[in-house]
Symmetry: C3
Subunit: 654 residues, 3 copies
């Protein structure tokens, strides 16, 4: 079968393969036995066939013998139940035996294959995630807390434990927050936000320790080959910003839920690119056709796989891979899409499209490798705010962090602006516009740095539920939005939350530009403290009061969006902001025509045009250049036509 | 901050504060250490500022050290899981160490503060509720059963254990009914109603024992200061009627789900007033603005806090308090509404309205204190029927006790009748009308006492699913509705239950008064045994058969509503009944204008008019008097105008 | 009360009673005590009253003392929780003490009553089902696997354990698949299909062992009296085909969810009849009026109980019984419908209808006993395919095996064809048409046997998601539909799954017969390999491609339905097939008029006509004969009228 596979890989120009992701049971079939026979054969064959290999340590699932010999290697779930052998991503991150043996396996694999020139990257574990609530993790949590707070007094203050008689008098009294302690109705409903928030941070750190363990073991014999692990885009349980420094490059698995996912993927790509300061990433996994893990698994329409692969490149991917290359014979991913199906055919539609894309990427060559995105807009993405907002009691559990962030990013994406999605600690000096949706938690000197953006003429945009809590999730004992209030020039005394069917129209006005846009879910009542009113509520007892404001701060602006505006309102606001800085893209008015720019290390400027529409669209070229997919010359000012789902990669010359 | 607080309390005329509700970890920081430093400071400050204090024992949540030292102090949940430290209301009611230490804490607090004249009431625990299923509770349950049944034969007979091979041959075989024994799909789905019903009664009694423990400890040093605990209105897990005799006065926390809650609150107030035979109660908690515990927490509209506070007084409250006075800095109630927010401002809308209400209450003075409601209508509320109905298999789980009761109470409320909501053991001699919705269980001499009401000319109203089971939840082996059949003059052989979207119209006719009203969910098929037909089904194979009947019994009537009438049908029936006794209120035809009468100990008659409408309404005064809020004279027969959400408190003189 | 009961049984011609189903606690009140006093009295009374007795062993629920003495007798649930005493069907099938004591009880009951001529059948246990996940079952599972696979290598290959590092190196590493091992979101979501599939098979076998234990004990003293247990129609957890050989006759409990259940019941009756090769079965339980176990329990309309009882006879029942005869006084079935209610009346509608039916059955006499259904159509029903399809990840969890099978059976039922519902191992030689809906798993020589049906001129119909996996749930490494491909003459490379609201219209064409029918949920893309196109998709990117095909194979046809057609489309296809074989029933065009034929051992041909409509219907008699219910003569070609819900049982003479 391998012979058939490699023939087909050649036909599809598949030049890089990730192997060994779940091989632990194979490479270590018993406590004292390591057996690389199969992996040797795989790597040798791949190398012999001229394929580059991304080699996994294979520790994403432990072997059955390990679970039997060391039951504590399995996880204890949120309900307090110790699991037994099964599933994957199943190891307790605090288990000493897991830490020892996973590092040892990584050490041996690196030692064995480090000198194989086909190995171009190390892939540690797989899709880190989930959580464990066992006694070992509880002990680890207490150690983590002791390091963080040093004294119980500091911890009690940070967690506000006078509430509900929670004062801790001994570190040993602290429990991992679960369904058996503080929670009800699942992980988001906690009686004690401080404990839960710190456990989220601890668990992210505990899994990072697992990654770091293995990476250190790899580095013993492989000093230079880059090390990564596959992330999952906007994945709540793991704070990728805390991890980023430990990865040599970022990579991620992209499994969008449906055909309408282009804006969401754009955000995820920008987030992944932002992990390493704009450095290119790998798209480690995507399906060429269907997923299998969902209740309903629709088929990727013709052209979609190609379009979305190019979208990844447009946003910073230097590699685009598939899961899976050959359909698994059995078990739970046997119906997951594959480049080569069970029958091993090459005359299928899916294989044909994969091969066509392979040919195009070959035609592109290395021009985009290492290229950077010249964004002047930053969007702040903050796991702490995500967690704090969604574990909070009140004002509304219907407000979801991702949805808010997505609406603001989409507004920028629709308008054709290149955007860096960055952590709150990022250097903001390079940006004209900084957008901070639902920035619930404001830490450190962030408020001052945002003020600096405005002071030098930039625009800062934030929304309802921002500036509410400090790094311990305690409320600022000042007017809302806390440290952001001076920049925003507003004060919020009260807020209304309503069911999803309640709409309050907001009238937006800026010069002659007017729009009445619906808002939902959350309505803050704003008392301007110097800010100008840009939008006003039209209904309810607060009709006529401000819903959107703009405050002049230094040479720039602080925008405050107090209402849960729907997409059209958000887009209206963001276009006002972008227009001021001349950052609207050339095709901002062509719906679903995405543009993205990358600048290669040698200065080559690439403009990607991606037509997400089902119809052909013709625009006017804003710059001349060569379409690298067709080799055709495009002149500035001339018509440029894109087929339905069409892609143009323009090496701009004017 | 306290200085600022008390200045603001003065401004708002807040004269009574409840303190110490969750202070256990503070007052007893270690097994052998009691430390009242903080509580002393709080009470001293409150007393010094001239504030009355309702002082809590603080046992609503145990300290972390206690859970660690005595793991059995925590609860075991319905799923059989022993919890660890966390949450509140977290103590096993059967735990000896909890019983000992909670009583000891109450003892010490009472001893310390009993002589402080500022302490005007003791507040034991907090919002008793939930349930525990641990081994200690199982043992307690067996003791409780042994006391109740004395022999296993009696228990086996009461529980009908020949069914499904359940005969118990040793008390030790009996388990607490849970997800691990008789239940599936949660607490309402039981394979053995008798066991589950008795466990509900036992658990209510077990928590009552906790209250009684603490009250007895308080009484050792405080013989006279009244003792209460804060109830929660219609709260299913605790049978407040079993508790009422042990409280010196009732109090409750009112957190309605939305702005349309006026009728529901009216019922809850009447229920709370009925606990102690009509004696006034305290509204212990309400939010001035928003809750935080719900998925969506809407803001109380301007005027609502005032209107609803007056509604409490109209229904029998002698005190109206807030939770919370100052917004908590952290943890899960930091976004719960407060009189004073995080920024400590007094220039907010919410503070302004609280202060306005404070001023009004001050203007009212003591005139309403101790006043009684002169109701001639009683509505029976019965926890046993609630439990039995909702744990029953068949006929329909869509029929919910609260919904049925609410519809009948609302009909009376809409019609302007003052209503006492009373237990089935209440003296019914004083009432012209007794309404018993969904009185599934009929115990003791109740049927005879209801017959007596009718015999002397009164009206008794009951509905579908009444008179089905005896106190052990066994079916009466007679025609339905069992002991109520003679009074109702009907027999029910069969019944139809349908999904919520199935409507059977009922034609109601009484003289010239006709209405076709929808009915849903449950349709009993009635064979009259002397009763007159007032309503008939219009559809299905039982079209033309009786849906509502009225039986002449002595000088009065027994009404039987066999169909699940919607509100308009229920209201039509109840107005027929009220009209016969001349009990329709003066503004029965003005929608959402509530009236309520209280008669003070000195005979002063107060009529409260509460306009729940968003528009102004003008009615004709039915009696002259003085509006105590404005001081203005109102003449009988003259127009009386109420603003939107307006309130008039009329001291009637004619 | 018994005197009253038997008087009423006489009035209703109830001649057979099932007794003792849950008597364990009564017959064995302590480990060493057997007490048959009560059962003696029941059996003696029944026998004395001339009633036949179906005598149960009473082991469907164990006594409380047993659970206390041997906690391992209770089950451990899917969540890993050991249950304590409660419920019914509560014994671990692998528990040695349960196996020993249940067999011993069966032995003693058989020994005691075997010679009583009133005892005409033995009823073992009750409604076997559910599952257990305890250590004993885990050990039993390992033994079962060892017998099945002999070596771990074979097991690892069958389960495809190289996936996700699951290679087992010791039998002791294998866990019962549960929420603590491979599952999430319930029993259908498994990370390892092979393990879960084998556990389903094992658990069905483990409970069969319990049945076999008891049957063997009965046979020690009762060599000839037939033994049964009551099945539940289409009940997923137990593979009744694996059980059938061990029962002397099949019996089942019929509790349809609503009044529109006639087609579903027809399928269930045919499935039950198919268990024993067409041998008649008993309808062991049905309610005369209402169930109690559902959330909403509607009342059987007048005439329904009669009509549905006759439907059972029409499909092969030789006995029709009720649960329950007398309403239980208490516990969870006290509101379940009964022939005699709590008040013991005979003047109720329900009793009247039961008595009328009893009289009719008496009039029928023994003519239908032992009769067979002369079906020329077989529908394959396969628990393995059911399980494999519904535990699969991808393509769609919305595709439910029962729904697909029901649609195809309904099409046949609507068309008036008699259908045998048979296992995949059945002899197919006698059938002209074989329908295999959603035959996900294809085992053994089935494909060859289906080809033989077509080769000799028959028609074979299968659908989407058929022919996908082998008996180990591993994909066939060939074109879809695997071994069925040659017969079907198609190849399927890809498939689209969509949410339930997405419709793709399919244009069906066969000569002049055309229909555009909606399809949903699953859309396979077909590449014909010789088959003719009968239906084409009308929408999406695969518009114009085949949705239904017919392949000529030998003298017959292989039909492939690639789309999730709604009922009208399925019916159109099936009528094409039936028409070719002249198998459309005489009243195929009269909606909801069911016909069924049975041929008695003496050759008497009975045609049942069942009018499921609410209106009267008149048809032309297709054969002459005598209506056995009225004694009236019917002539061929003359009008034959059926009342609403009417029944005619025609002994055909022409």
């Amino acid at each position: 079968m391998w012979t058939q596979d490699y023939r087909l890989f050649d036909a599809a120009r598949i030049d890089t393969v990730t192997v060994g992701v779940f091989t632990w049971a194979s490479t270590q079939p018993a406590p004292d036995v390591y057996d690389f026979t199969t992996l040797d054969a795989i790597v040798e064959r791949a190398a012999a066939e001229g394929r580059a290999v991304c080699l996994a340590t294979g520790t994403g699932a432990h072997p059955a013998w390990l679970a039997r010999a060391h039951p504590e290697v399995t996880r204890t779930d949120f309900e307090g139940r110790r699991h037994r052998f099964g599933q994957r991503h199943n190891s307790c991150p605090s288990s000493p035996v897991f830490r020892r043996l996973s590092a040892e396996l990584a050490r041996r694999i690196a030692a064995r294959y480090a000198d194989n020139p086909a190995v171009i990257a190390w892939h540690v574990g797989n899709e880190y995630g989930g959580a464990c609530y066992c006694e070992l993790c509880t002990a680890g949590f207490r150690d983590w807390l002791r390091k963080k707070y040093r004294t119980l007094d500091r911890l009690n203050h940070a967690w506000c434990t006078t509430f509900w008689s929670h004062t801790f008098t001994d570190w040993g009294e602290i429990e991992a927050p679960s369904a058996l302690t503080e929670h009800w109705r699942g992980p988001d409903h906690t009686a004690f936000q401080g404990i839960t928030l710190d456990y989220l941070r601890f668990m992210s750190d505990a899994m990072l320790t697992n990654f770091v363990d293995e990476k250190a073991a790899i580095r013993e014999s492989s000093p230079d080959t880059p090390v990564t692990t596959n992330f999952m885009g906007m994945y709540r349980p793991v704070d990728y910003h805390r991890w980023a420094a430990h990865l040599d490059f970022a990579s991620w698995d992209n499994y969008p839920p449906d055909d309408r996912s282009a804006p969401r993927m754009a955000l995820a790509h920008d987030l992944m690119r932002g992990l390493k300061g704009g450095q290119p990433f790998w798209l480690m996994e995507q399906t060429p056709s269907t997923t299998a893990c969902r209740d309903v698994n629709p088929l990727k329409r013709p052209g979609i796989n190609r379009l979305w692969s190019w979208q990844a490149v447009a946003h910073g991917a230097d590699a685009v891979l598939y899961f899976q290359l050959r359909a698994s014979r059995g078990a739970s991913e046997k119906y997951h899409g594959a480049v080569v199906g069970h029958a091993g055919r090459s005359d299928t539609r899916v294989f044909g499209e994969v091969a066509q894309l392979g040919a195009e990427l070959e035609r592109l060559g290395g021009v985009s490798l290492g290229a950077r995105t010249p964004a002047r807009v930053a969007l702040l993405f903050d796991w702490d705010s995500w967690w704090a907002l969604e574990i909070s009691d009140g004002p509304s559990r219907l407000v979801r962090y991702q949805q808010v962030v997505l609406a603001y990013h989409r507004a920028l994406w629709d308008a054709g602006a290149d955007v860096d999605v960055v952590p709150v600690t990022a250097d903001l000096c390079r940006y004209d516009v900084v957008v901070a949706p639902a920035l619930h938690m404001v830490k450190g000197d962030l408020a001052r740095r945002l003020e600096a953006v405005a002071a030098r003429g930039g625009s800062v945009v934030t929304t309802f539920l921002s500036g509410r809590v400090d790094e311990d999730d305690n409320a600022f004992l000042t007017d809302v939005p806390g440290p952001l209030a001076p920049l925003m020039g507003v004060r919020v005394d009260e807020w209304d939350a309503r069911e999803a069917d309640v709409v309050n129209p907001v009238l937006l006005e800026c010069g002659d530009d007017r729009l009445e846009a619906a808002s939902r879910l959350l309505f803050e009542l704003v008392v301007p403290q110097g800010a100008d009113v840009v939008g006003t509520y039209r209904a309810d007892f607060y009709a006529g009061t401000p819903a959107v404001t703009r405050n002049t701060f230094g040479d720039g602006h602080g925008w405050y969006v107090a209402a849960g505006l729907e997409q059209d309102g958000v887009s209206w606001v963001m276009r006002q902001v972008l227009a001021r800085h001349d950052l609207l893209g050339p095709y901002a008015d062509v719906a679903d025509l995405e543009t993205a720019v990358r600048i290669a290390p040698d200065g080559t400027r690439l403009r990607f045009l991606l037509n997400h529409r089902a119809d052909k669209v013709t625009v006017t070229a804003c710059a001349g250049g060569v379409d690298l997919l067709t080799g055709e010359r495009v002149e500035a000012g001339q018509p440029l036509a894109l087929d339905p789902l069409g892609v143009v990669v323009l090496r701009e010359t004017a």
